[in-house]
């Protein structure tokens, strides 16, 4: 895999969009910063980290891109990038301040509590994070924020623990998960690779009393191939790595995905995920050198 090319593209001035040529957005920019930091190209991460801070709202949240300061669901990604920066040679007090404000923001956001809905298989009373403030808790924003809080030294915070409980509750009994529904009208829904991978990263180190994490690992091992779409492949591989089961073919699959991505859709979003997945268990989404001092 041509990681030099990939990292060079992540460091380019016009990098940061969901699609090639699209405006810089929080999630791809934070992932690119994480990738550059983890691959030792710290100076090139600095402009991306500064951009994230420049875009932070008064309440500490960070929207999806410049013209759209809400919703603030990507804020967890920025926390992860700033946390990684604090453990690097380019640590900066501004990063720490921005990170603290962002943590305060995500701790202020809760999924709306709704009583048990008839025909729904998951526990609707567990509170995690919504995509959009004022709506229900969903799996991916909860996984993002659990991950951010754990890396920020808040793994024992009640919100983190409840978020973990939500993720465990939303795993399908046969393994894997989707956007966050399990059973509807007595029928179990289908799993999807990308949320399953992200969920397994967030649940790394958590006990698996239900056995659903093990079944989710089986699901990813069964489904991932060299032709899996790039984002799903990267999250799937990260999930397996986080759970201690990196596949032997991971590098070959990533090389194939990287080639396809560079040819068809060299977006920062996808290339950053490729660069992160290529790190395996050393990926900063899985492992940071040491937990920071508890932030709050």
């Amino acid at each position: 895999m041509d990681l030099v090319d990939v990292l060079g593209r992540l460091a380019a001035k016009d990098a940061g969009g969901y699609q090639p040529g699209s405006p810089r957005a929080t999630e791809p920019t934070a992932l690119a910063a994480l990738a550059l930091l983890a691959h030792g190209r710290e100076a090139e991460a600095r402009p991306l980290l500064d951009w994230l801070a420049s875009f932070q709202s008064g309440d500490g949240g960070i929207g999806i891109w410049n013209e759209q300061p809400t919703p603030g669901w990507p804020t967890g990604w920025a926390i992860l990038a700033w946390t990684a920066a604090e453990q690097s040679a380019i640590a900066d007090a501004n990063d720490a301040r921005a990170r603290q404000r962002a943590i305060d923001y995500i701790l202020s956001i809760k999924g709306s509590r709704i009583e048990w809905i008839e025909h729904s298989g998951h526990d609707t009373t567990i509170i995690g994070w919504p995509w959009v403030d004022g709506t229900h808790s969903w799996l991916e924003p909860t996984a993002m924020n659990v991950l951010a809080l754990k890396h920020a030294g808040l793994g024992d915070h009640p919100r983190t623990r409840e978020g973990v409980r939500l993720l465990q509750d939303r795993l399908l009994s046969t393994g894997g998960c989707n956007y966050g529904n399990t059973v509807v009208f007595r029928q179990q829904l289908k799993p999807q690779l990308e949320p399953t991978g992200l969920c397994l990263v967030a649940l790394a180190g958590e006990p698996d009393a239900s056995g659903r994490v093990a079944k989710s690992i089986d699901y990813l091992q069964r489904e991932l191939t060299a032709s899996t779409a790039t984002i799903s492949l990267c999250y799937g591989l990260l999930g397996l790595a986080a759970q201690g089961h990196p596949p032997a073919m991971a590098d070959a699959w990533l090389t194939a995905a990287c080639r396809r991505t560079l040819t068809r859709d060299p977006s920062t979003y996808k290339l950053a995920l490729v660069a992160l997945a290529a790190l395996g268990t050393a990926c900063p989404l899985i492992h940071m050198s040491a937990p920071l001092e508890q932030a709050t």
Binding site: V132, T135, Q187, A229, I231
Partner: protein, 345 residues
Amino acid sequence: MTTSPSTERAQQQGQQFDRRAMLVASGVAAAGIIGLPLLHRALQMTAPVFVARHQRYDGPIEQTIRDGLLSTGFDPATIRGKTVLLKPNLVEPTRACPQMTTHPAVVVAAGEVFRRWGATVLVGEGPGHVRDTEMALIESGMQDALDSSDLEFDDLNYSQVGWQSNGGRKSSLKGFYFPRQVIEADLIVSMPKMKTHHWVGYTGSLKNLYGVIPGCKYGWPKNVLHHAGIPETVFDINASLPKTVAIVDGILAMEGDGPIMGSAKPMGLLVVGTNCTAVDATLGRIMGFEPAKVGYLQLAANRLGPVEERCIEQHGERWQSVASPFKIIDFPHLQELRAPGVLVT
């Protein structure tokens, strides 16, 4: 804030109906011979719907779509040099369930129809349940089809957005963030799969347009819309969009626990029309539903288009000749949507 083209159109139609109503009312006053039922009827919208049977994905469906559009009053001159956005349903694709998503052959055929009429054609979708749109394209078979037909695809979940005021006002939402491609399109072609839907009965061309709402602003699923009410937001979105037409993939349909977990039901149908409400009402009749009982059609009736059977002009096959009631899951909120006398074994 802008006023949506649909709203303007509805207002224009409303003005026409108002004038017609005035004439009728004048007649009533003058002659005293026309009763209230006739006045009521005069105020209702009408629209044609084209139904084609014996369709196959490897058959001449481009010709069928062209015939259907022309038959229902579509004027190709209106889109020459303009931009047409095709909106298939790719909600949560998987190769194991082809009855869930719009077949690529129908999208490619529709693309050819509009291209030959001189339009620039885009395909766009914001899958409702998956963030990895590349995966959705691969699993649905759409990626290969788009590549071979040189059709451009835009991921509406992550597009730049613009604000459009709510042209329907049945929900509490003041407006919608629509992707730039949706706002700029001269015509949006809703291309749903003919499917049951375990919350609202069935889904057609109106509900399919949930997929133009960007996930980055509304989430996966688009939970903001659910909180504001599904029937209400289906209506509001459609009332806020530019001009829409419908091409429904009913060749391999879905019954039972749709829109995701249902079973395949081969129907061999393509349903086409220039009024999405009329198309969806016709779909419902074919599937064994009573359209007037379906929430979003109740709201759309005579605001966005006709629902009553006598107000929908049948072109191609009569719906009665292709009707085949769809199985639905056994819950009261769905069973009560059944057309009277329909039994499904």
